[in-house]
């Protein structure tokens, strides 16, 4: 279901090696060590989801001679760009302006489709006002009461407008406003203190702001408050000020403490004027106010489900503390990056795209596809007779008729495991598989020919010119009873070989006598039946351990560090010492879905 059947996943075992024993408890470590060797890969375990990859997603480190999955590479950002307008954003801008496009690219907050800028002008000449509209779900900024004067620089315009069209003060304006208000308050307090020092009530309720300050505003207020407190905390510097960066409190405390032994008394005296807490909304204090909650309840009661936001929409918003649909903001498009990847253990570059945004080419790209045999599976035509008659005909038609989503429990089914070799050396392959699949539905699996050779990936013409590989006489494979003989390969080509796997799909429900089947766990089993199967438990997935051996030139060691890693394989150099190599990995082959009886 994950991919259309049949499919193959390759397991990268990096997570095993990176898990330090410190994080495991002693008992786990022992248990793990005990079964480390003969443990079968279990595609059903929740962890396997994190270690299985389609072959196309894997890289290969030539120096470590290992598969590298997205987990075991280090990524380095080469450049940033907006996927919508393809504008390359310099890193300094990314640092200062954040991870979103600062031009005109926006995504719909409801359906995430890219939004377009439309004119609301009815006279036909596309004049102002403009709106952002989603061409897919027809959400537009009209719904939140925002219109723009210009059709460009939308994000800067949007930053200045709150929902409903009100003006949002910029950071500077806000700071100024805060200072002004603070002074005002200060003066008022003084005035009051002079008049009647004894009767002092909290001043916040005398002048309540009509709107509660927004999240951003509160945050800015708090930040400013803490900053002022920190500054008040640290005494004015003892040195001249021009060469030390006094914006850092660590520098302050250092300097203060340099002379703490000599002037400790003085220090102690003026050190402990504690940092006070925020005292007003201007300093970021918000007293709980029941009005907002009551209004929210009232609104839900009135407007119901439609006006509220789904959790995923909320999380996608910049400020996730929203509740209603009139609080939505269009989302500026997230920037994308081009990244190069390095092997985590040896730091060699495994893949490096061209830095140009519009180019899709790679400078360096070491794919596992070119180094690891590709394993694939497909159903063997059910009736072998046509294949017998014309062995070279492509088995396209009968195969398309095969229903991978309806494997029949208990009926032996034959599949072809097809292994093709991308290497330039012939390889010797050993396949292994557990006899029954792990999990609740147990299918029996037999690989009829677990050990075989696959030819080298030589020139395509070699195949045509040399006729050494005669087509295998299929008749000899099938004995009189119509069974396929074990120990022989099914078919072979220039750089590929296929073998037969016999599968007896298991039963989705325990057969016949559930009580007798497992007497010990009768009760539990029955309960499990009530629950039925989990998602995808009826998928027939076969873990296959693949081990390949081949002789290759000794190249990796002599090659300069990562100099000629790119592109062509430098392996063809004849005459060099040959070394025996061995690669082994687990794969998981999804053969189909077992149909319920």
């Amino acid at each position: 279901m994950a991919q259309p059947f049949p499919y193959t996943y390759y397991a990268c075992d990096c997570f095993d090696s990176t898990t330090t024993t410190a994080s495991k408890r002693a008992s786990q470590v022992l248990a793990a060590a005990a079964e480390e060797d003969e443990r079968d890969f279990d595609p059903r375990s929740p962890r396997s989801n994190y270690s299985l990859f389609p072959l196309e997603h894997l890289l290969y480190c030539e120096d470590c001679q290992q598969i590298r999955c997205p987990r075991c590479v280090i990524e380095e950002t080469l450049n940033w760009y907006c996927p919508s307008c393809l504008f390359e954003v310099p890193s300094s801008v990314v640092k200062s302006d954040g991870n979103r496009c600062t031009r005109n690219c926006f995504n719909c907050p409801v359906c995430t489709a890219p939004m377009t800028t439309n004119s609301l002008d009815t006279s036909g000449d596309n004049g102002p006002p403009y709106i952002l509209a989603c061409p897919y779900c027809h959400w537009s900024t009209v719904e939140i009461g925002i219109e723009f004067e210009k059709s460009t620089g939308i994000s800067s315009q949007l930053a200045r407008v709150a929902n409903g069209g009100k003006h949002i003060p910029t950071q500077k304006e806000r700071d100024k406003e805060r200072e002004r208000k603070k002074e005002l308050e200060e003066r008022r307090r003084e005035g009051r203190a002079v008049m009647s020092p004894s009767e002092e009530s909290p001043t916040t309720d005398t002048e309540r702001e009509e709107v509660a300050p927004s999240h951003d505003e509160l945050f800015a207020n708090l930040g400013a408050f803490y900053k002022s407190q920190m500054e008040a905390q640290t005494p004015s510097n003892p040195f001249s000020s021009h060469d030390i960066n006094y914006s850092s409190p660590s520098a302050y405390s250092r300097i203060v403490n340099l002379y703490s032994s000599t002037t400790s008394k003085k220090n102690k005296r003026n050190k402990h004027t504690p940092f006070r807490e925020a005292g007003s909304a201007l300093e970021g204090l918000t007293i709980h106010d029941s009005a907002a909650d009551a209004a929210a309840i009232e609104r839900i009661k009135r407007e119901g489900w439609g006006s509220t936001l789904s959790p995923s929409t909320k999380h996608a918003q910049i400020n996730p503390n929203l509740r209603f649909d009139n609080e939505l903001r269009p989302l500026a498009t997230l920037l994308c990056t081009k990244r190069s990847k390095r092997c985590r253990s040896c730091r060699h570059i495994l893949s490096k795209p061209e830095t140009k945004v519009t180019s899709t080419r790679y400078k360096i790209k070491l794919l596992a596809l070119n180094h690891i045999p590709r394993l694939s599976i497909r159903a063997l035509p059910l009736n072998i007779n046509p294949a017998q008659q014309q062995p070279l005909a492509p088995p396209a038609r009968p195969e398309s008729a095969f229903n991978y989503n309806g494997l029949k429990s208990g009926i032996p089914t034959h599949f072809l495991l097809h292994l093709s070799n991308p290497l330039f050396d012939p390889i010797r392959v050993t396949l292994a598989t557990p006899s029954t699949t792990p999990g609740k539905v147990q299918s029996r699996i037999t690989i009829l020919c677990p050990q075989f050779d696959v030819g080298a990936n030589t020139d395509v013409w070699d195949d045509a010119l040399a006729s050494t590989l005669s087509p295998i006489n299929r008749t000899s494979l099938i004995n009189d009873a119509g069974q396929i003989e074990a120990g022989k390969i099914w078919d072979r080509g220039r750089n590929w070989t296929s073998v037969v796997v016999e599968v007896v799909p298991g039963f989705l429900k325990p057969v016949a006598f559930p009580v007798l089947a497992e007497d010990g766990k009768g009760g539990g089993e029955a309960e499990g039946d009530d629950g039925g199967l989990d998602e995808d438990e009826d998928v027939l997935e076969i873990p296959v351990f693949v081990r390949i051996e081949f002789e290759a030139d000794v190249v990796a060691e002599e090659r300069g560090l990562g100099v000629s890693v790119g592109g062509g394989d430098a392996k063809k150099g004849e005459g060099g010492a040959r070394e025996k190599r061995e690669v082994a990995f687990w794969t998981v082959v999804g053969a189909g879905r077992i149909a319920p009886l």
Binding site: S23, F53, E190, P197, T286, H288
Partner: protein, 567 residues
């Protein structure tokens, strides 16, 4: 385009020096391969504060790890860049695109065998017996990779991490998380901060009672002067709440369906969505006046007790596209407040039937306050911060504060709940005290009028004290220079809003405040968590005093590190 980029790069330092923000003198001085006279007045490296190049090392990434969500972003920003969840869709294999399949949205997801409610949406749970730490590592690693690659978009420079964690966390779990951050994301150091303290910071307070209604449990932490003083927890939190919501929805669906139909079984996603969209909480306690005792005069809640009955009962229509057949269910609005009632307050159960770990929230808060020393209690009770995912439920905060208020009025701050045979006397004493107090208050109010008349001299105790000019001046001074009077509020129940733990962490990182628990990468990779010193507090200042050749190595480097609260 690349030439444009080069040009920009070339001109960038020029611009900067013109503007004169940070001429990087310290950079020049510290490069060893090109000896030159330090330009300007650079400080000798021994005493100099770290210059430009070192400064950049102070760049932080701020993470908050909860049991269902991870938030990540940068200091100085008010909201996290991303909030990542751990639902089953996030845990699929690479290349598994079924969540985008249109048919996928109409299938109801079944709970996995042997899984608790919502378990496959959790990153971790505190009971490690049920947790596969490897899986936690996998999940966390994938989420962090998404955060770094999709949302942070950092350049190659490694960033320090400020990590907000709940104050109690199993070490095995902590080291799993730290392992990922240190090994996969190359963090040079990680500062741990406990989330109640960060919530306090984000509320602008020094002392607070932080009620964190999270996923698996509610933690009530008393914080005083940025330190956890006392903590209690209860399992009445988000998980129970959504389970209750599922019950309500199932019941409603079953009512709607035909008699023969299969029992409805709402999935976690549906219940969670309903809860977060239209769930609410009655802001006034339902009339359990039988148990509540209100003194005659001070009963502000009493009059509002009865809910006004609205004639057409308001209802909310909830679509269930995943139900078979898809249905638009109309649920009475009052029904949607039931889960919060049942899960968080449990008004129908007598108090003595609760176990220690499942106290209703208002009792939990009350007991926490009760266990505090009196002066800390005074500070904390008027700085109650209600935070956590569930706290967004409209009406919940009002309700909690009202319930607490009622409890305090009913019981006072007396740890003895039952005086047995002496209870009558105690009651009487209390009542008398209260009446005395009220009488005095009232007379105090009256007294102004009376003093205007000034026909009869009052008793000394009721007279307003003589105004001393010096006192007045001092008070005036302290008022002007000291903290504003709101900082001094205490002794009344008062709720304070917070921006949340993540925002607190962002504030702290913005001010470049060093944490007590700072774990260096090298040291961690050598010893793991075992390397922490046993002392709970390592003085930051003491370490920096040491002068000598070692000072230049870096300002923040410490000889030993500690796990602080987490130890």
């Amino acid at each position: 385009m690349s030439t444009a980029g080069g040009e920009r790069k070339g001109s960038a330092p020029l611009n900067r020096s013109v503007r004169g923000t940070t001429p990087r003198l310290a950079d020049l001085a510290s490069t060893p391969e090109s000896p030159r006279t330090p330009l300007g007045r650079s400080v000798s490296s021994l005493f100099g504060s770290p210059g430009g190049s070192f400064r950049n090392e102070d760049d932080y990434v701020v993470l908050e790890i909860g049991s269902r969500f991870v938030r990540g972003g940068f200091p100085g920003e008010s909201t996290p860049r991303c909030t990542l969840s751990f639902g089953p869709d996030e845990q699929r294999r690479v290349g598994d695109y079924r969540q985008w399949d249109p048919a996928h949205g109409s299938n109801r997801r079944k709970r996995k065998r042997g899984h608790d409610w919502g378990q496959d949406h959790e990153l971790y749970r505190l009971d490690l017996a049920q947790v596969d730490l490897g899986l936690v590592e996998d999940k966390f690693e994938r989420a962090m990779r998404e955060a770094y690659n999709k949302y942070f978009l950092l350049d190659t420079k490694p960033k320090r991490i400020l990590l907000a964690l709940p104050p109690k966390m199993p070490h095995a779990l902590m080291s799993t998380l730290l392992d990922v951050l240190f090994s996969s994301f190359q963090a040079p150091s990680i500062t741990l901060m406990s989330s109640p303290i960060l919530s306090t910071v984000a509320a602008g307070l020094r002392a607070a009672l932080v009620v964190d209604i999270g996923w698996a449990e509610t933690q009530v932490t008393a914080v005083c002067e940025y330190r956890e003083v006392h903590e209690r927890r209860s399992i009445r939190a988000g998980k129970l709440l959504s389970e209750e919501m599922a019950k309500v929805l199932n019941a409603a669906l079953d009512d709607e369906a035909d008699a023969g139909a299969a029992k409805a079984d709402v999935s976690f996603e549906e219940a969670d969505e309903v809860l977060s969209r239209v769930g609410w909480c009655k802001s006034k306690p339902k009339s359990n006046r039988r148990t509540l005792y209100f003194p005659a005069r001070t009963s502000p809640v009493l009059e509002e007790f009865e809910d006004a009955v609205e004639s057409p009962e308001p209802a909310v229509t909830i679509p269930f596209p995943r139900h078979t057949p898809p249905i638009d269910l109309t649920v009475p609005f009052a029904q949607l407040a039931k889960p919060a009632e049942a899960a968080l307050f449990a008004p129908d159960t007598a108090l003595n039937e609760f176990d220690d770990h499942e106290l209703p929230l208002h009792h939990l808060i009350y007991r926490t306050l009760l266990a505090l020393p009196i002066d800390i209690r005074r500070l904390c009770m008027s700085r109650i911060i209600i935070t956590g995912g569930v706290s967004a439920l409209p009406g919940l905060k009002i309700r909690l504060l009202a319930e607490l208020e009622a409890l305090v009025q009913q019981r006072g701050w007396d740890p003895v709940r039952n005086y047995g045979s002496a209870s009558a006397r105690k009651e009487q004493l209390l009542r008398q005290q209260r009446e005395d107090l009220e009488l005095r208050c009232q007379e105090g109010e009256d007294q102004i009028n009376e003093s205007l008349n000034s026909d009869t001299p009052l008793s000394a105790g009721l007279q307003s004290p003589e105004v001393d000019a010096i006192d007045a001046k001092l008070a005036h001074l302290s008022l002007r220079n000291g903290p504003p009077p709101t900082c001094d509020v205490g002794g009344v129940i008062r709720g304070v809003e917070t921006l949340g733990a993540w925002a607190g962490a962002s504030l702290i990182a913005q001010q470049r405040i060093k944490g007590i628990v700072e774990i260096e990468r090298e040291k961690y990779l050598q010893h793991g968590l075992q390397g922490a010193s046993r002392e709970k507090e390592v003085s930051v200042l003491q370490q920096r005093q040491s002068m000598g050749p070692g000072v230049g190595r870096g300002a923040g480097e410490r000889a030993s590190w500690t796990l602080g609260v987490w130890a």
